[in-house]
């Protein structure tokens, strides 16, 4: 799975596209871990291009959230499609992961 990254005001914004499921979730986690730096104030997953996330994908988000919490780095997701948002709501992930409407919102909150 391809990811694109940019840093704005010390916040790493990670763009991904397509599906996150059991077939690529491990690779997704590895590629994110490879780009996150200790200097980042915050990390945001921009899910604007993600149309499906399975429970294996949610687990990757949970692992990332745990890792970043230990480093005291802010973390959130943004630009969820309605179907992905529903998965977050049903599983209760919306109660433990910060969700932002847009990348700009996330950056201004986490910088």
């Amino acid at each position: 799975m391809e990811i694109n990254t940019e840093r704005t005001d010390g916040v790493l914004v990670i763009n991904a596209e397509g599906r996150i499921d059991g077939s690529n979730s491990a690779q997704f986690l590895e590629s994110i871990q490879a780009v996150v730096s200790d200097d980042d104030n915050g990390v945001v997953l921009d899910f604007g291009g993600i149309n499906y996330i399975s429970s294996a994908g949610l687990r990757v988000i949970l692992l990332l959230a745990k890792e970043l919490r230990q480093k005291q780095t802010g973390f959130g997701v943004c630009s969820l499609s309605s179907s992905v948002k529903e998965i977050f709501t049903i599983s209760g992930f919306d109660q433990i992961i910060a969700i932002f409407d847009s990348g700009a919102d996330a950056v201004s909150s986490l910088k």
Binding site: D21, G22, S25, Y52, S54, S55, A56, L58, R59, L62, L63, K66, T89, I90, S91, G92, F93, Q95, I96
Partner: protein, 402 residues
Amino acid sequence: MASEKRSRRSGEAGPETSHTYPYKILVVDDEPDLQPLILQRMRRPIRAGKYVFTFAQNGVEALQKLNAEPDIDMVVSDINMPQMDGLTLLEQIPSVNPNIRSVIISAYGDMQNIRTAMNRGAFDFVTKPLDFKDLRHTIARTLRNLVEWREALASRDQLVVLQNELDVASKIQQSILPTEFPQHDNYGIHASMEPARNVGGDFYDILMLERDHVGLAIADVSDKGVPASLFMMSSRTLLKGTAIGLPQPGDVLSDVNDLLYEENETAMFVTVFYAVYSPMTGEMTYANGGHNPPLLIHADGSSEFVPQIGGIALGIAQGIPFPQKTLTLERGDTLLLYTDGVTEAMNAESEEFGVERLQTIFRDTPPTSAQATNDAVFAAVHAFAGDTPQSDDITCLSISRV
């Protein structure tokens, strides 16, 4: 002496891969002078304990040797011999030992026989008069190939073993799920799971509680494979143990959540819908740990999803409360619990089955029983998915109030 051996060996490329030396090489030739010549010219690797040579005069004798000595690794054979020639021998070798490599000795320039030999499975050839330096290299190269082949075979066998273990894990997963369901004058219960090819993490449970109450659980562990199936088994055990002691579903999920969280290094989680049904009143008290909302289907075919009441998948966060709520099953109502293997089943166009199709199933044909409800869901999902491979476990648990 030792240093002499080392210096002599250094110029020769040996098979250098793990094998219990020596390799055993059968040389087949009707020329009696060849035996002492080979032993003389190959004395270095023989002394170094790398090769052992054994000899046969013709193809018939060679086959007898191959049968009697199954530890022979390779054959070096002449072509023209009495009784059975080298080309016939080549044809016979695989039936005796399919993992033997053969090198043929041919007359210089005899391309026709060389081609025939290669087509009959010879690994390589050398020409007469024998160039022993070339023969040593050819033997070493042939044995390297043999070792790689054997390692590939061993890897394949290991894969088969692993696949068998996965199959066992999958069978265990299924074998712990109840397949006999309580039958009662006032209600019927039925549940079924269709596992995906990988070991998945769906489970359901039906618990007979005090005062004729019935505990109903459906759950889905994040991810697949053996770790997920272990997490699923511990989730199921904890849920069962906790539910038998606690009457309130919210308390049950809260306790199981904390127990799972304590030993959860791998950030796995499980979504669980758990309800306690009271057959006398039709009341169903439920709590939801991040699971898909069940569908309440009425006798007229109309339906609605059970309201979301908050609650998070289990194993993620510690000490969180799980709200609970009570709904009432009227006579003729069916409550369908399912996993996302149903709603996220895909067709060839990569469309999801979705929640609307789930409701549509019953609009014109209301459920007649718990089992009929599940059967209708599986049939609709199969019809929708067609030949698209199933990527997740599909699980349904239904309860109908009679």
